[in-house]
């Protein structure tokens, strides 16, 4: 998915069995993640695509380890 003139993009997803709704993802990448006000869980908004480097940062920042790169999208 890498373009010649842009950063490599990956798609991310949230493991709903693991997420505890801390919200670090939403803080770092508000265009990609949101913690649902009703069920308190992180969800991906839209395509879930972002630059690989930023995906790595948000995966690292998630305390529960609930975020991963979606298989088959890289």
């Amino acid at each position: 998915m890498s373009g010649a003139d842009g950063p490599e993009l990956v798609a991310v997803e949230v493991d709903s069995d693991v997420c505890i709704g801390v919200g670090q993802c939403e803080l770092l990448e508000p265009a990609v993640f949101r913690v649902d006000d009703d069920d308190g869980m992180g969800v991906v908004i839209g395509s879930g695509q972002l630059a690989a480097e930023r995906a790595a940062a948000v995966i690292e920042a998630c305390p529960s380890g609930a975020i991963r790169i979606r298989a088959g999208d890289t």
């Binding site: 693991v18 505890i20 801390v22 508000p30 069920d39």
Partner: protein
């Protein structure tokens, strides 16, 4: 294979060991030892336990609840009976998936986005506290500033009326004192429950439960947008929470929201006195306030430890662990582990790794499912306090000698006399 058991160099069950703050030298000895250090069984705590003192090991234990359980044994060092475990259990004493379902009932109220909505209320409480201290020119920083701000904020979230905040501070204080050597009378607050069934073995836990159920009854009749209303309305798999679940939830939130941030705030004048360059740096660049809040938490390590219990065999730093073994994660050691943090005894505003990540501090826990629910709220409270101090140009004069809470579990300060001016 024989298990090597390097003995812990101090009696970790003796609150006096923590009487002057974190025993850094003892933890350095344990971090350098071969494997995990061992403390023998005794009648204060039951079975012996392993001390996890290295940063990387705290992360490993924190992130593997299938192996290192919060539910099969107590999360404090002393052992309690299975019926007491059940009676006391709140989400902090549970493992996934039950823990996860309970936590999501309240997690949305504590996200970085949502806590921004509490900023004005926090600032109001900060101003009121600093006004009072400045009016007197000097006083006890803990009772004037560090205690009322966090209890006020968490009580607002829960829906506790302002008039009752003092009562809940009193109860919360007794809970911690219950971990030390001065218990209340067993029948205090009209308690009739067997003490071993109550958190911290304290009658104050009974009083807090009674308070919670009374408040919950009122909110069932007239719900508001507070968290007690949310808990009374919440359903898990179509079932409402039981009275015990509501009461345990309430107790956990009041204790965790109050005691921890209070301890962090209580250490602030000591840290600013020891590192005077910090205020000057923040004055020049307020974008460093967030980094300062993280260092306040790391350096104070408000919760000294949590314990886990092994569900199966595992090896940690070369020590072979067996099912049922007790492991105690000393955050107060991992936060000063030179293998993970440069110059750990320095207060630095250029540490960039997020808390709980591979290289960040573990003052909010080492990541995993029990990572501090209120981390974003605590950060905001600390940032608002520091920002108001800077805005006013508050100067700290003489800072007295801290009187620490007698506990090996919380790094609390009971009293800290300070002089302030501008």
């Amino acid at each position: 294979m024989t298990r090597s058991r390097p003995p812990a160099p101090v009696d970790l069950n003796d609150a006096g060991v923590f009487g002057d703050g974190i025993p850094h030298d003892a933890f350095a000895v344990m971090r350098a030892a071969d494997g995990l250090s061992w403390t023998e069984a005794d009648d204060r705590v039951g079975a012996g336990f392993w001390s996890v003192t290295r940063h990387r090991d705290v992360l490993t234990v924190s992130r593997d609840p299938d192996t290192y359980s919060s539910a099969v044994g107590h999360i404090q060092i002393y052992d309690i009976d299975p019926d007491a475990l059940d009676a006391r259990a709140s989400m902090i004493d549970l493992d996934p998936p039950v823990h996860t379902r309970l936590r999501r009932l309240v997690s949305a109220a504590f996200t970085p986005r949502r806590v921004q909505g509490y900023r004005a209320g926090i600032r109001r409480r900060v101003r009121r506290a600093l006004d009072e201290l400045e009016r007197n020119g000097s006083g006890d920083w803990v009772s004037t500033v560090a205690a009322p701000i966090p209890i006020g904020v968490i009580c607002d979230l829960m829906g506790v009326p302002e008039d009752d905040h003092g009562y809940l501070i009193e109860l919360s204080d007794h809970l911690v004192a219950g971990t030390a050597n001065e218990p209340l009378e067993p029948t205090a607050y009209g308690n009739t429950t067997d003490l071993r069934l109550l958190p911290f073995n304290s009658p104050a836990a009974h009083a807090m439960a009674s308070y919670a159920l009374d408040l919950a009854d009122r909110r069932r009749l007239e719900p508001t947008d507070d968290l007690v209303s949310a808990l009374t309305a919440a359903e898990i798999d179509g079932e409402r929470l039981t009275d015990d679940e509501v009461a345990n939830f309430f107790r956990l939130m009041i204790f965790a929201g109050n005691e921890t941030t209070r301890s962090a705030m209580a250490h602030l004048p000591l840290q600013l006195q020891q590192f005077p360059e910090v205020l000057a740096a923040l004055m020049t660049d307020r974008s460093l306030l967030g980094a300062a809040a993280e260092e306040v938490v790391r350096y104070s390590s408000p919760i000294l430890y949590f314990r886990r219990t092994l569900t199966r065999s595992a090896t940690l730093s070369g020590t072979e662990l067996e099912p049922g073994d007790k492991v105690v994660m000393w955050y107060a050691s991992a936060n000063f582990d030179p293998a993970a943090l440069d110059e750990p005894l320095a207060f630095r505003l250029d540490r960039s790794a997020p808390a709980g990540s591979g290289a960040g501090h573990v003052g909010f826990g080492g990541g995993g499912v029990h990572h501090c629910l209120g981390a974003s709220l605590a950060r905001l409270e600390l940032v608002e306090l520091l920002d108001e101090v800077l805005t006013r140009g508050t100067r700290f004069g003489e800072v007295g000698r801290p009187r620490y809470v007698e506990s090996n579990f919380v790094n609390g300060i009971e009293r800290l006399d300070v002089a302030v001016g501008r």
